[in-house]
C-alpha cells in the first residue's frame, strides 16, 4: 500500500516497526503533493527539504502541515493574503513547536480564505482550493486547504482553526475529521488572530483516532496565551451517554440527502453500548446565531487587522482583499460611537442567551448530534457574489463558537452524486474526550471515512 495513504496511527506504527523510514515517508508524501496539488491547490507553501526532527517523540518522522495562519519560523506564513506574501516569522506558534518537539516534520502550509474570512476557500489571494470529490465544487472554508490535503493523503495531520465553522465545514465537505475544541483548550499563541473571543485552534485528520493522537499532544494551557485553560469534565467517565437532537438544526432548509445521512448516523449511534438513548431538544436562539456571530466577529476583526500597517512588516492595507475590507468596515461601524450599544453590546447580550440555551440543554443530555451544513459542497462561484449568502453557510456551526463548546465533525455518508456528508457531535466545555470516544466507536462500525476521492 502506498505509505502516504496510511492513517497517522498506521504511519506511526509503521515507523516504529521499521517497515519504512522517515525519509521514505517524507519522499512519498512529497511526491504525492507534487502530483496532486496542482489539481486542487491545497498548499500555499511546500517544504521540499525537511528540517531535521527537533525532537523524538510520538510523532517522530511524521510529515505534518498547518493552515497558513500558524507562524512557522523561517517558513513563509501568509494567512493567504498578499499583505503577508513575503512574511518570514521569527518564531513558531506554540502548536507548531509542540508538534515539532514530538518529532513532526513540517511539509507544508495550507491554503485558506485570507485571514480566515470565508466558508469556501474562494477568498484566498493564492487561488481557490478545489474539492477533491468534485473539482468544480468548493472544499469549504476557511480551512479548505487542510481538508483537501487530508482527503488526498497529502499530509498525515493538519492544524486548522475554527472561528465560526472553519474546521468543521471543510471537514464535512471533504470527508475528513475535524475537531473544534473548547475555546481556550489549545494555545492561540502564534496563530494569526481573526476574532479573539471566538478563534479555536484544532486538529484535522483522516480518522477520529488520528485526531485524538494530535489533540492529546497539543492541548493544554500555555503561559503565552492568557486565554488558555484546562478544566475537569465531571461527565468524562460516564458510562452511558444521552444524545440530544436539536430540532432547530433540522429545519426544512436541510437538504434531503443530508437529513437522511444524519438520521442513519443517529440510528447507528444508538447501536453503540455507550449510548443510552436519543432525545429531541431545543436551542431556541439558533436562528439568531448568524447575526450575533457576524456582528461580534467583524468587530473583533476590525481591531485585529488594525495591526497590518505595512510599516513594520508586510505590505500596506491597500493589499487587503474585498472580504477583509468589508469586514473591517462593518466592524468599525458596529464599534463606533452612537452604534456600539445598538449593535455590539446587543450582540454580546444575545451571545449570553445562546450560551444559556446550551447550558440548559446539557442539563438534560450529554451530547448533541446535528448536521454541519444544510447542503453538501456547493459549486465554485455559487455563493461568492453575495456575501450574506456565504455567511449563511455557517448557520449550523456558529453557535458552538459563541458558546465556546467543543464539536467533532466526522463523515457520515455521501449523496447520490458522491459528495461527502458530515455530522457534528457537540458537548459541554471540556468534553473532548467524550466526543472522541463516541466518534471512534462510530468509526468502528462504519467505513465512510475510508472512502477516498477518485482523483487520488
Amino acid at each position: 500500500m502506498e505509505i502516504s495513504k496510511l492513517s497517522l496511527r498506521q504511519a506511526i506504527d509503521g515507523l516504529v516497526q521499521k517497515k519504512f523510514s522517515a525519509q521514505e515517508l517524507f519522499d512519498a508524501t512529497l511526491a504525492r503533493i507534487r502530483k496532486l496539488n496542482p489539481k486542487i491547490n491545497a498548499f500555499i507553501t511546500v517544504v521540499e527539504k525537511p528540517s531535521p526532527s527537533a525532537g523524538s517523540g510520538p510523532l517522530s518522522g511524521i510529515p505534518f502541515s498547518t493552515k497558513d495562519i500558524f507562524i512557522t519560523k523561517g517558513i513563509r506564513t501568509t494567512a493567504a493574503s498578499r499583505v503577508l506574501e513575503n512574511y518570514l516569522p521569527e518564531y513558531d506558534a506554540t502548536v507548531v513547536a509542540k508538534i515539532k518537539e514530538a518529532g513532526g516534520v513540517l511539509i507544508g502550509k495550507e491554503n485558506c480564505d485570507a485571514w480566515g474570512h470565508g466558508s469556501s476557500t474562494e477568498n484566498s489571494d493564492f487561488g481557490i482550493t478545489k474539492n477533491p470529490y468534485d473539482l468544480e465544487r468548493v472544499a469549504g472554508g476557511s480551512s479548505g486547504g487542510s481538508a483537501a490535503a487530508l482527503a488526498c493523503d497529502l499530509t498525515f495531520l493538519s492544524i486548522g482553526e475554527d472561528t465560526g465553522g472553519s474546521i468543521r465545514l471543510p471537514a464535512s465537505f471533504c470527508n475528513v475529521v475535524g475537531l473544534k475544541p473548547t475555546y481556550g483548550r489549545i494555545s492561540r499563541y502564534g496563530s494569526i488572530a481573526m476574532a479573539s473571543s471566538l478563534d479555536c485552534v484544532g486538529p484535522m485528520a483522516k480518522t477520529v483516532e488520528d485526531c485524538e493522537i494530535v489533540f492529546n499532544l497539543i492541548a493544554g494551557p500555555d503561559p503565552y496565551d492568557a486565554t488558555s485553560l484546562e478544566k475537569e469534565n465531571p461527565r468524562q467517565s460516564k458510562a452511558k451517554l444521552q444524545i440530544g437532537v436539536p430540532k432547530e438544526f433540522f429545519s426544512s432548509a436541510l437538504d434531503g440527502e443530508v437529513l437522511q445521512s444524519v438520521k442513519s448516523a443517529l440510528q447507528k449511534l444508538q447501536e453503540l453500548p455507550e449510548i443510552e438513548g436519543i432525545d429531541e431538544v431545543s436551542l431556541p436562539h439558533t436562528e439568531y446565531g448568524i447575526a450575533t456571530y457576524y456582528l461580534i466577529q467583524t468587530s473583533e476583526v476590525s481591531s485585529n487587522l488594525a495591526r497590518y500597517d505595512g510599516i513594520r512588516y508586510g505590505l500596506g492595507r491597500e493589499f487587503f482583499g474585498d472580504e477583509a475590507k468589508r469586514r473591517i468596515i462593518l466592524g468599525t461601524f458596529t464599534l463606533s460611537a452612537g452604534y456600539y450599544e445598538a449593535y455590539y453590546k446587543k450582540a454580546m447580550r444575545v451571545r449570553t442567551l445562546i450560551c444559556r440555551d446550551f447550558e440548559e440543554v446539557f442539563k438534560k443530555v450529554d451530547l448533541l448530534v446535528a448536521p454541519v451544513s444544510a447542503t453538501v459542497a456547493f459549486k465554485i462561484g455559487e455563493r461568492s457574489g453575495d456575501p450574506l449568502q456565504m455567511y449563511l453557510s455557517d448557520v449550523l456551526t456558529v453557535t458552538a463558537n459563541l458558546a465556546g463548546i467543543p464539536a467533532l465533525v466526522l463523515p457520515c455518508g455521501f449523496n447520490q452524486a458522491g459528495l461527502p456528508i458530515g455530522m457534528q457531535i457537540m458537548g459541554p466545555q471540556f468534553s473532548e474526550k467524550t466526543l472522541l470516544r463516541v466518534g471512534k466507536a462510530y468509526q468502528g462500525i462504519t467505513d465512510w471515512h475510508q472512502r477516498k476521492p477518485k482523483l487520488s
Binding site: 507553501t45 517544504v47 521540499e48 527539504k49 528540517s51 519560523k73 523561517g74 517558513i75 513563509r76 518570514l88 521569527e90 475555546y183 481556550g184 473571543s197 503561559p223 492568557a226 486565554t227 485553560l229 436562539h285 436562528e287 439568531y288 448568524i290 447575526a291 450575533t292 457576524y294 456582528l295 476590525s302 488594525a306 500597517d309 492595507r317 491597500e318 487587503f320 474585498d322 475590507k325 468589508r326 473591517i328 468596515i329 462593518l330 468599525t332 461601524f333 463606533s336 449593535y343 453590546k345 446587543k346 450582540a347 454580546m348 447580550r349 444575545v350 451571545r351 449570553t352 442567551l353 450560551c355 453575495d386 456575501p387 450574506l388 455567511y391 459563541l402 458558546a403 465556546g404 466545555q429
Partner: protein, 98 residues
Amino acid sequence: MQTKKQRFAEEQVLHLAKLARLTLTDEEINRFQAQLSSILEYFEKLKELETSGVKETSQVTGLLNVIRADQADEACHLQRGGYYKTKAIFEEVSPTQK
C-alpha cells in the same frame, strides 16, 4: 433614485474607510454600500429579542486577570553592571525554504 433607504450612505462608507485607514475605489464604495447595507439589514433581526437585564458575554472562559509574578526570568538574562543582558529577539532570519 433609491426605492429603499440604504442602511449605509456613501458618505458613511467613506468615513468608516477613513477611520479604518482603508482606501476604496469608487467602484468599491458603490459595491460595498449595497452589500454592507443588506448585511446590516440582516443584523436588525437581533432587535426581535428582549435583552434588557441580560449581561453581556465578552468571553467564555470565565478567566479574569491572568498574570504571572513580576519576576525576571533569571535563566534568560545575565546581570552586567546594573543592567540585564539578554538575547536579541530579532535577528536576520534566512529562509529555510526559498
